[in-house]
Symmetry: C2
Subunit: 338 residues, 2 copies
């Protein structure tokens, strides 16, 4: 009764055709007569046959996997990138193999090694900072590599990202133009989150260019920096630098947390404290007052990465021609910085 699952050979036998014909019937455009194909698919359904990718993967040396690493799944921005990436790739018949690094490049190295064993057709990684060994693993893998969410100085392969430094610069310019002078930055530790670190560096550089004090820096420890951390940072900011006029936060989530802290303390936003976020999250658009933020095009990064990978795998670019797709972050001024 409980015999082992049917294979293509079983279907072939039951219909008196060769296994090869059965195999072809499961491929889209291969040469099988309409009649034969239908008979095969019908027999397959009746026998409860399930196509075995593991065998196909080995023989054809193709897995239709694309490996993807993100720092955390619990982040609306990365989730949006992954969603669009998954959608785009599925149109090309590719499936995502996802892993989290927890904002740790050593974890990332382990993850990359593990993912490469599955023989993906391409790999997408978030960020541009990696261990030396990770870089080597990626280079040796001889599959397309795409770094996202940053513009690394020494890219490993393709890049789909934007300049975090530039983005914050625009934010600082906006605040200064609007009339704010005593401006703080609230983010996480530099060590683990390169995007956060770049944003902080961008803040410091831009403030200096304006001849302003760039020492109002609040750090909330290791990422992820969420709403709670934002609230706590605002609390700290109000104690340490009570005359601060505006706070730029490393993300909309922490900016929202900061906003709630202001509400609890009856600090008016933006009159007493202006706020800026990052990432154009839903929450920033809907909260009261809505948050000034930077649209970093999280979704578009995913969509363009999917396109890029499809094109590269289709051989649309000459071998070794690495593409760099760069987005220009766009400031969205809202009431939190009037």
């Amino acid at each position: 009764m409980n015999r082992k699952p049917p294979t293509m050979a079983d279907i072939a036998k039951s219909l008196g055709v060769s296994p090869m014909t059965v195999s072809r019937a499961f491929k889209r455009d291969s040469a099988v007569s309409q009649e034969t194909r239908e008979a095969i698919l019908l027999a397959a359904e009746e026998l409860g046959y399930v196509f075995d990718s593991t065998a196909a993967n080995l023989r054809s040396q193709k897995t239709d996997f694309v490996a993807v690493t993100i720092p955390s799944i619990n982040n609306a921005n990365f989730a949006e990138t992954v969603r669009q990436l998954a959608d785009g790739l599925s149109r090309a018949g590719l499936q995502i193999l996802l892993g989290y690094t927890n904002y740790d490049i050593h974890e990332e190295e382990r993850l990359i090694e593990q993912l490469l064993r599955r023989k993906p057709q391409a790999i997408v990684i978030t960020g541009g900072q990696h261990t030396e060994r990770a870089r080597k693993l990626l280079s040796n893998a001889s599959i397309p590599v795409v770094e996202t969410w940053e513009l690394p100085e020494k890219p490993i392969g393709h890049v789909v990202g934007f300049s975090n430094t530039q983005a914050i610069r625009e934010m600082v310019d906006h605040f200064v133009e609007t009339g704010y002078r005593r401006i703080a930055f609230m983010g996480g530790d530099a060590a683990n989150d390169t995007r956060g670190a770049e944003r902080r560096a961008g803040f410091v550089a831009a403030m200096r260019e304006h001849g302003l004090d760039a020492t109002r820096l609040i750090s909330s420890g290791a990422p992820p920096i969420g709403m709670r951390e934002g609230a706590k940072a605002m609390s700290e900011l109000l104690e340490r630098f009570p005359d601060t006029q505006a706070a730029i936060c490393v993300s909309d989530l922490s900016a929202f947390g900061a906003l709630t802290e202001c509400q609890r303390r009856n600090v008016r936003v933006p009159e007493d404290m202006a706020l800026g976020g990052f990432g154009n999250y839903d929450i920033g658009a809907i909260c009261v007052p809505p948050l000034t933020t930077i649209n970093a095009f999280a979704g578009d990064i995913g969509a363009r990465t999917a396109e890029l990978i499809s094109d590269v795998l289709d051989g649309k670019f000459p071998q070794g021609a690495m593409q760099t797709i760069s987005f220009n972050p766009v400031l969205i001024a809202r009431e939190s910085s009037r």
Copy 2:
């Protein structure tokens, strides 16, 4: 120069051992002398060898994959379940293969079929409503099946979930006890989101038991129901049923959206309008006022599912003994319903 990647056979040749010994060196606890293993791993690193799972999968008939379907990745609750699930499974050497159904059971069927081709060791699906063919595919797969986030009447295999109906009942009881009578429910369409539909049904049943009017129902269309939908629903509620005292929302996200709409309209929460959410999201704990909600243990569902799968695969339960792990949703009363 650009010859093909090394295999175990290449390593074996370079060291004068058999491929079998190389294979064993890559397994944890198999019998290889310390000396030989080190030599093999060193040679592997030098040759740039990458273990090929596709071959191992085929020969050993094991993939160490666990397939997981969720309605959407852009949902903090499901994301948390997946995170804990991934963490727990990785401890057992298992990797997640994730797919989204977009709240559509036909999409789910397609997804399940696609995932089963990868020969996962187990499959976790969100919800208890599936197409007939999906049920058949799952039953035939002869791997552990876990349905989560609900308590299906006719489970396919194991279950890790809670009663959405019961959860909302607790919320209604709380509101009634606190003194509210004219209570509304705001959620999505019944068709696509079984959990949302159950919550609505639970609301109607509980209200009737209290002898209260259960017709204040606002529907926001197809899921996902996010903050925007919540704000719009509150807008509609205030127009259609202006004397409503309290609104129970299908999730914290929509409850927060509703809260912002109240803020924009200077409707005081909870004095003019009390609010209840669902899911115990971060945002409900930190917003002002914080939201009364239901802790549905999203993370725990993932963690317990991971344990369950490990145990089942380890043969800790007799063959065919299906487990049901049921959480009791817990009401968290906060200021939004004082």
